[in-house]
Amino acid sequence: MKLKLFGFTLFSLLAIGSAHAQKSCSASIVSCGCSITRATLYTIDADLSVSQGLTPQNACIEISVAHAKLILNNHAITGAGKGIGIHILPTGTYTFLEGGPVGQPMTGWEFGIESDADNVIIDTPFMQGNSTGILLKQTYNNKVSMLTGNIINHNSVYGIWIDGGNSNQIDSVHTERNGIAGVYVGCSSTGPTGTPCSPAQVSSGNVIYHNYEIEDVGPYSLVLEAGSTRNTVMNNIINSAFDGNTNCAKNLWFDNAVTTANAACIH
């Protein structure tokens, strides 16, 4: 009995140790499977692949510390359909992620970039062939933009997904040919035909502006889901715009060039 108890305890300790094991990234990152734990500058200096291993939370790179800066440096970050390319954990506030000029794509992930932290800046790299390019999950004051020439395209669900966040901003991005929508603000992984957000999850106060190429020709280009209210969409060129709220609720659509819209309150 004593031996059995000892064995159980040892197994438990090993399991806990394994679950908590994390490999800290060095300032020069050359393979997947590490965590950024220092508030300093990191650069990716080689193409990264899921085959090199992932973190315990299934990311190529995790960021768990505030005020880190990560430069992708035009290298590919390639997954195999699951996991997260770069995961900014809730403690990674004030992260600055710089995609740089047009380079190799971030591709093959369930979420290319997922931010769970507040006050993050994402200067987006070339994102292609993920389920969703960028997921902002219940974030506050994240800012997503991109250099001219980069693009978010051919992601099977969304280009950018704001799920339950507020006061986030998207500007200067170019999306096209994403599976359901280029930009989706809401809680459904299947688009506006799915389940809307619960009241506690609504996305509000987000500002989507100065995007001159939200050109998705799939079902939707830009969607504000039912229950996503008090958002502002202005000064964009949008192929297909959709607001799931009656009379757009308190969403403001203004100064956009829209090809097709589902409601007269979209301007």
Binding site: G100, N235, A257
Partner: protein
């Protein structure tokens, strides 16, 4: 004595009334000289000119209310009659203001509009302001962030201004991206406290500008060098980040840091020709 007191009281009352008098902006703005005092959406529906009058603070449009959205809607905001005037002035109480100029329909038709010929084209004294204005040119300073937090300047062309395209003084955590400048008198972006560039007086330590982030920014005199500096972080402006920006063909330095070894400023992944220190990358 009593008459004197009554006269004094009357004068004080008149002065107070005069100082308090302000022309409130309607939600459709068609002339300079009004003040926004209630948050909400305001749309400019005519070209605005300083000849139509200014506010008591010397602004074409002053914004005093939080959560205001001002759409310039493709119209010009033009100064020129005063030596000290401001196109759009966001006062300290007006946090979370959004100023939006060019509408996408106009842009698709290549129609550009200007905030021009002011001492400051746009001045922000408030936190959490978004400025998305296409062309802010021929002013003393294009955009002036005065001790602000978390202002965001996106997508503008701040060129041909006498001193700076963008001036950040004493602010922190402001961000500039996707903007452009050429042919400004001193610099495209200047972070510091001198109106005459890095040869002037630096900030006091208490006025230092920190935590500002400049990225995806371009400053270049395409035809011939004329602008002395591209981006300047002045002495005592520390812990700022300049990243993935392009600056070239300037008379002095494309990128300039006035701090010894750049202090805690981060310059990385930029494209440039000339810099004043090897810590700029």
């Amino acid at each position: 004595m009593k008459t004197s007191s009554v006269g004094s009281l009357l004068l004080s009352t008149l002065l107070a009334a005069s100082a308090g008098a302000q022309n409130l902006c309607g939600h459709s703005i068609t002339s300079c000289g009004c003040t926004i005092t209630t948050g909400g959406d305001y749309v400019v529906n005519a070209n605005l000119s300083s000849t139509q009058g200014l506010t008591a603070l010397g602004g074409c449009v002053d914004i005093k209310a939080a959560n205001t959205k001002l759409f310039l809607n493709g119209y010009n905001v033009s100064g020129g009659v005063s030596t000290s005037a401001i196109g759009v002035h966001v006062l300290p109480a007006a946090k979370y203001t959004v100023i939006e100029e060019t509408n996408a329909t106009n842009l698709a038709g290549n129609k550009h509009n200007f905030v021009q010929n002011w001492t400051y084209g746009i001045k922000s004294d408030a936190d959490n302001v978004i400025i998305d204005v296409d062309s802010i040119q021929f002013n003393g300073v294009g955009i002036f962030l005065n001790k602000t937090y978390n202002n965001r300047i996106v997508g503008g062309n701040e060129s041909f201004n006498k001193q700076y395209g963008i001036w950040i003084v004493g602010g922190n955590s402001n961000q500039v991206n996707a903007s452009f400048s050429e042919y400004d008198g001193i610099a495209g972006i200047y972070v510091g406290c001198s109106l005459t560039g890095p040869s002037g007086t630096p900030c006091l330590p208490a006025e230092a500008s920190t935590g500002n982030v400049i990225y995806s920014y371009t400053s270049e005199d395409f035809e011939q060098p004329a602008q002395p500096y591209g981006v300047v972080l002045e002495l005592n402006s520390v812990r700022n980040t300049v990243m993935a920006s392009s600056s070239g063909t300037h008379l002095q330095f494309d990128l300039f840091d006035g701090n010894s070894s750049c202090a805690d400023n981060v310059w990385v992944a930029n494209f440039f020709g000339t810099v004043n220190q090897s810590c700029i990358h």
